[in-house]
Symmetry: C14
């Protein structure tokens, strides 16, 4: 259990926990938005373009918080500066 | 309990926890959206095409957060860079 | 408590936890959708075909998140690469 | 506390936890669906056949997530590959 | 604290936890369904037969998830293969 | 702290936890059902017989999940096969 | 810390936890039922007899889950078979 | 830390936890009932006698679950059979 | 860390936890009741006497569960039989 | 870490936890009551005196549960009988 | 890690936890009250004086529970009798 | 790990936990108030001055509970009497 | 693991926890406010200026609680007095 | 496990936890806002410009709390002053 091994293990666990937790909020938030978009479409079917455009721009903004988590997970797995330091012989 | 074994164990546990947690949010979010789509269809049956198209595009966007979790789980099980390092004799 | 035994134990526990947690979200999400489909059928009995078709396509999409969990559980029990490595004499 | 005993204990505990957790979601989801089916029947008693057919197909789909958990529990108790390995003299 | 004793203890604890957790969801789900059946009966007293038949078939389906838990508890207490193995002199 | 003592302690703790947890769900579920039965009686006082008969059959079904827990508690306290094994000199 | 003392301590703790947890559900369930009975009385004051009779029979059924917990607590304190075994010189 | 001291400590802790947890449910349940009784009085002020009589009988029934907890706390503090056993020189 | 000191510490901690937990339920329950009493007064200002009398009798009944907790806290601090036993030289 | 120091530490921690937990319930309960008092004032501005008098008497009753917690905290900090015992040379 | 240091650490941690927990309830309670005051003002703008006077008196009463927590935090930091005792050379 | 270091660490952790927890309540409370102020403005746009004045005075009162937490955090970081004592050579 | 290293680790962990927890409340609170502002705009489109001005001033006030957390995080990372003390050779 | 390794591990874990927790609140908050924006668009389709402009400015303000978390994560991974200190040979 030297530094290299422990940094690897912590990176693996954190990457999974981060995206696992971080997927809950955006998915529920987007679900709420989509659910109300359904109602809005049923109420104003003539404005489909306006509603869906606003919907997808907004959902992309919500999706961005999930993407932050995914980016952190990917950095921790594939571009982890701490892992690189120890792998290259750092003490 | 050398590094290889511990990295393997942490990878297994994280892979399961990540998809296990990450399936809760998207499933509930999609359920909310689908539930309101049902109401919208009952209210505006003439606009079935518009409603279902927006619904499935939106659900695919929500599904993407579950897929992030599934991708991380698969990476941890089948393409784990930390496991590969230690398996190839890394210290 | 060598690596083989520990990897086996962690795989068993993770497989159960993953499907156990992962069944909560999809089941509640599908329940919400089905509940509103009941209301929609009562409100627009003439559109049964449209409503049930959209319902079952949507529920299949929600079910997919439960299936991700089930797939990960099955991989961990029957096609676990870490277990295979250690079972074949890997250090 | 050799590997055989520990694998047995973890299998027992996981089997119970998995079905114990996994029964919560499906039961509540089916309860929501059935509750709204009651309302739908009261509102459109002439469509009993359509409503109950959709209801029971949907509930079977929800029940499937509980069955995934039950299957994993049964595999862990009666067809556990890790237990078999160690019981047949595996190290 | 040999294997036999530990397997016994884990079996006892898991049996209780499994049915204890697993009774929460079905009971609440059935309560929701029964509560709405009351409302449906008050709204359509002429359709008592249809409503109560659908109700009890549905509740039996929900009850099945509680029965899965009860079955696992009974297996763990009275037909536990791990306990049998160790009791018959297995290592 | 030999096996007999530990099995006894675990049995005591599990018996209490099992019925303690298992009483929460049925009680709330029956409360929901009874609460709506009150409303139904106020709305359709002429159908008292139909409503109360359905109510008490349904509540008995919900009560059954509490009884599963009570049965497991009683088995663990008074007919515990693990305790019997060790008490009769089993190793 | 011999077996007798430990069994005593576990019995005390479990008795309190069991009734402490087990009082939450029945009390809330009965509160829900009583709350709706108040509304029903205000809506149909002429049917006081029917409503209160159904109410108190139902509440007795809910109370029974609290009584299960109380019975287990009393058994653990005053008629504990494990305590009796060790107190009479059992090993 | 002999048996006498440990039994005393566990008794103290359990007594407080039991009544502390057990007061939550009844208080909220009675609050719900009383809250709806207020509404009922405002709606049917002529039936004050019927409403308050049913209310206080019902609240006494809810209160009984809090009293079970109080009784167990008092038994554990003042009439604890385990404490008595060890205090009188029991091993 | 002899028995006297440990009993003292456990008593202090339990006294605070007991009243700290036990104040949550009654305060919320009384708040619910008072909130609906406000509405009832606004709806039937002519029945102020009847409403406030029922309100304060009911709140006193809810308050009693908080007082049970306060009594147990006070007993544990000022009239603790376990502390007295050890302080008077009990073993 | 003699008795005096440990009793002091436990007293400090409990005092803070007790009032910290105990402030949550009363504050939310009073907030609910005050919120509905606002509505009542808006609905019956002519009965301001009756409403505010009942409101403040009721809030004082809710406040009393917070005061119980504050009293226990103050006793534990400034009039702690256990601390006094050990400070005066008690063993 | 003598008594003085430990008492200091526990005091720091408790002071922060106490005000951190204790700020949640009052803030939400006051928010509920203020939210309904907004509605009341919109409904009865002619009674602004009566409504805001009752609002601020009530909010001060809710604020008092936060102030209890703040007072305990300040006592623990700046006027801690246990710290003073050990700092002045108490054993 | 002498007293100075430990007091420093506990201060850092508590400062962050205190403001982290303490920001949740006020932010949600203010959000509730602001949300209803929006509705009130939409309902009574002529009374903008009265509504916003009451709103901001009330939000300042809610904000005060967050400021208590911020003050405690700042005291713990920059004016910590325990840190000062040990830093100046106190034992 | 000297003081310097431990203070650094605790500072890192606390900085992340503080802003991680502290972002939940303000984001939900602002979401509630913005959601109702949308409704208000739809109801009174002529008062856009008044509504958005009040909205953004209020949201800035809510944002301030998130900024407190961000400030504490930044202080702990970049201007930590405890870290500075130990880094400059303090004992 | 020297300081460098431990600081690295804590930084990795905190970075993931911080953004994982911090993504929940903003995503749900933005979802609420977007959901109501959908309703507002359906109610006032002529004011699309005003509504979407306010919506996106508000969502950017909510997004800022997620960005605080992302910034802290990035600082901890790529510009961590504690890591730099120890990497450059600091004790």
């Amino acid at each position: 259990m030297d530094n290299l091994g422990l940094v690897g293990m912590v990176s693996i666990f954190t990457a999974g926990l981060c995206i696992g937790l971080g997927a809950i909020g955006p998915a529920i938030g987007e679900g709420l938005a989509l659910a109300n978009a359904m109602r809005a479409l049923a109420q104003q079917p003539d404005k489909t373009n306006t509603i869906t455009r606003t919907l997808f721009v907004g959902m992309a903004l919500i999706e961005s918080t999930a993407i932050y988590c995914f980016v952190v997970s990917m950095i921790l797995i594939f571009a982890n500066p701490f892992w690189n330091h120890f792998q290259q012989g750092g003490a």
